[in-house]
């Protein structure tokens, strides 16, 4: 797992066969309903996300798109419905558990760690992958837990002393982060506190942080909001590259229809917390209900 070179497929990624692109459903949501007090945010939503596809979620403001992402990464708990992730039905969980299972996320309003530098933000994304020490697996009941605790304590000590395994691990993870920095072309702002960066770069750093988690499923909440055309082009390129080179499944919310139609494989349309349409971009584009929703026809 820790061998970095194996994590980043080299140029070979481009040679992948198109027909092999989509695999099994990575995540399936079925009949999800969510409400806050009296407010119904999502009603009976079902769709799936296939491995390695780029799935767009669109809809007018207040359609429940962000709530949907929040449900997927465990921040909101739906009152009804099931989520199946990698073939297992998921129980109620906290967001950090979703993260541990390989779901990463960016936010509509940039949610970077403002007091830290770009590099530290990205390194924070590596937290789950960092282990100074690993407890050996013995398979003996109880002993494993004890060993894990012991390893955790020792790990803490090495962090206090910044010594041995800790320094090695820091350096190794740093190298990984530097790869992402290169990939997203943000070398120049490595040590800049992110609070001082312009909005477009902040969005990029946020993507970098999400990538540092080596996610299997990447949730992007309006990655291109507030950007100019060139920035949007850059960002689209990055998303496509991530999807192709790392093979990461992407679910994204976006308002720019042009971008959505260009880069997504399939689109799900929400309105007023209900699913309106689901399908390939060109199918969705011609859907009567979708057009009505966007043009504001009364329901």
């Amino acid at each position: 797992m820790n061998d970095i070179s194996s994590q980043i497929p080299a140029e070979a990624a481009g040679t992948r066969q198109p027909e092999r692109r989509f695999g099994e459903p990575l995540l399936t949501v079925e009949n999800i309903s969510l409400s806050f007090g009296g407010l119904q945010a999502l009603t009976d939503i079902s769709f799936d996300i296939l491995e390695q596809e780029i799935r767009a979620i669109i809809g007018p403001n207040g359609a429940g798109k962000t709530s949907m992402l929040n449900v997927i990464n465990g921040f909101y708990h739906p009152q009804k419905g099931t989520i199946t992730y990698k073939g297992n039905i998921r129980r109620t969980m906290r967001p950090h558990m979703a993260a541990a299972q390989g779901i990463a996320r960016t936010f509509q309003n940039v949610a970077l760690f403002k007091g830290m530098s770009t590099l530290d933000n990205i390194m924070t994304g590596r937290l789950l992958k960092m282990h100074n020490l690993r407890a050996p697996e013995t398979g003996v009941f109880g002993l494993d837990q004890v060993l894990r605790w012991g390893a955790g304590a020792l790990d803490f000590v090495t962090q206090c002393l910044y010594w041995g395994p800790n320094e090695k691990e820091e350096t190794r993870q740093r190298a990984y982060c530097e790869e992402i920095v290169d990939f997203l072309e943000i070398q120049a702002i490595r040590k800049t506190p992110v609070g001082r960066l312009p909005y477009g770069l902040q969005k990029r750093v946020e993507l970098a942080r999400a990538l540092a988690m080596e996610p299997e499923l990447l949730l992007l909440d309006e990655p291109m909001a507030g950007m100019n055309v060139e920035e949007k082009e850059d960002m689209s390129r990055f998303i496509l590259d991530v999807n192709e080179e790392f093979g990461t499944t992407v679910a994204l919310i976006e308002h720019d229809m042009g971008v959505v139609m260009d880069i997504s494989d399939r689109v799900v349309v929400l309105d007023y917390g209900r699913k309106l349409a689901d399908g390939r971009p060109d199918e969705v584009r011609s859907d009567r209900g979708v057009i009505d929703a966007y043009l504001g026809v009364a329901h």
């Binding site: 996320r105 760690f113 924070t124 937290l127 988690m213």
Partner: protein, 359 residues
């Protein structure tokens, strides 16, 4: 001119991650440490050792502890005094119950005990935030002080509830605790201990654990979504912070004051330490030291200024003026540089780097 980093290239990530990546800084800090260790004990007057340097070092440690919790993890705490009291009373009980144990181990155990108490009182932080949490930590403050004051077991049934530190040595027969120890020995002991603990703190905040604290501080929701367990991060911050504060409380009772009652750790102590980290700089190890120095020195300086100027002010007027000036200075500093002395220090360094060119 001499403060140039041009020509210093880092060829490995390890070198780039060092505490002081710039060579001049490294040399500077080594000289400062060497001077503090080898020269100050011999040249500083006893008054400086006893009344300024020793409390400064102890307060720095407490500020360091609070800075980990408040500056790095973003959890505002007003319970510092209570945790210092824990350290003081735990170490007193341990030191008197096990007179033959090395005092360093006693301090360590007292710190660990305080860490446990810190975790206990940190539990509400999982539910409540901001000023609500701050007020909730006052519960810890008042409860702990009451407990040490109320149950005479903590003071070995001293009729007045005062503990007085027994003399103990770290090695050989050079005492470092209680009033009978020489100020020089106490100072050197404190300098080494506090420097070591500061190094540990620095290492923590540039490692994984420190990053998870800062992530919680900057945006707890995003931190959780990238996989940080808020409970673990917050409680570990409470534990580490309380450990530092507990050790500083033990040092306060054993090396500075020699004898304390629980009321010595009342709410004002909490505010004092909070001032230190705000003035010094939240989220800066250096800031804890600068802030502690400032708060220790300011009242003494304010007392001395009228004497220096030869103003015939009564003690009463000076005392009142001191309150006013103290308050006004704090407001002034907060307005001018809310990021504290540490930031001023940094700005100064950046200026020096470019000097004599303005940009």
């Amino acid at each position: 001119m001499f403060y140039r980093e041009a020509g210093q290239f880092k060829t490995s990530y390890a070198a780039d991650q060092a505490i002081y990546p710039i060579r001049q800084d490294k040399i500077g800090i080594l000289i400062l440490f060497g001077f503090s260790l080898l020269a100050i004990p011999f040249i500083a007057p006893i008054y400086w050792l006893n009344s300024i340097l020793i409390p400064f070092l102890i307060f720095s440690l407490a500020a360091l502890g609070l800075n980990i919790l408040t500056g790095y993890c973003g959890q505002l705490s007003l319970g510092t005094g209570g945790f210092m009291a824990c350290g003081a009373f735990f170490s007193y009980k341990l030191a008197t119950a096990m007179p033959d144990t090395n005092i360093l181990i006693v301090f360590l155990l007292a710190g660990l005990g305080t860490a446990l108490v810190g975790v206990l009182f940190g539990l509400p932080s999982l539910r409540i935030k901001g000023f609500y949490l701050a007020v909730a930590t006052l519960a810890a403050q008042f409860f702990l002080i009451w407990m040490f004051n109320k149950f005479s077991w903590w003071t070995n049934h001293s009729p007045s509830g005062v503990i007085s530190a027994p003399p103990r040595a770290v090695f050989g027969d050079i005492d470092v605790t209680s009033a009978s120890a020489s100020p020089e020995a106490k100072y050197v002991f404190l300098l080494l201990l506090v420097s070591f603990l500061a190094l540990i703190a620095k290492n923590m905040v540039r490692s994984r654990i420190g990053r998870s604290w800062m992530a919680i501080r900057d945006m707890d929701i995003a931190a959780e979504i990238i996989g940080i367990r808020p409970m673990l991060a917050k409680l570990s911050a409470f534990a580490v912070s309380s450990f530092f504060i507990g050790v500083s409380g033990a040092l306060w009772a054993f090396t500075y004051s020699g004898s304390v009652e629980a009321l010595a750790f009342e709410i004002n102590r909490s505010f004092e330490v909070l001032f230190m980290i705000i003035i010094g700089g939240l989220g800066a190890i250096m800031g804890s030291f600068l802030g502690a120095a400032f708060i220790v020195l300011l009242p003494i300086a304010l007392d001395t200024i009228p004497l220096l100027l030869g103003l015939p002010l009564s003690v009463e007027t000076v005392a009142h003026l001191r309150l006013i000036i103290f308050g006004a200075l704090i407001i002034f500093f907060l307005i001018v540089e809310p990021h504290g002395l540490a930031r001023l220090w940094q700005i100064g360094k950046e200026k020096l780097r470019l000097w004599p060119f303005p940009y």
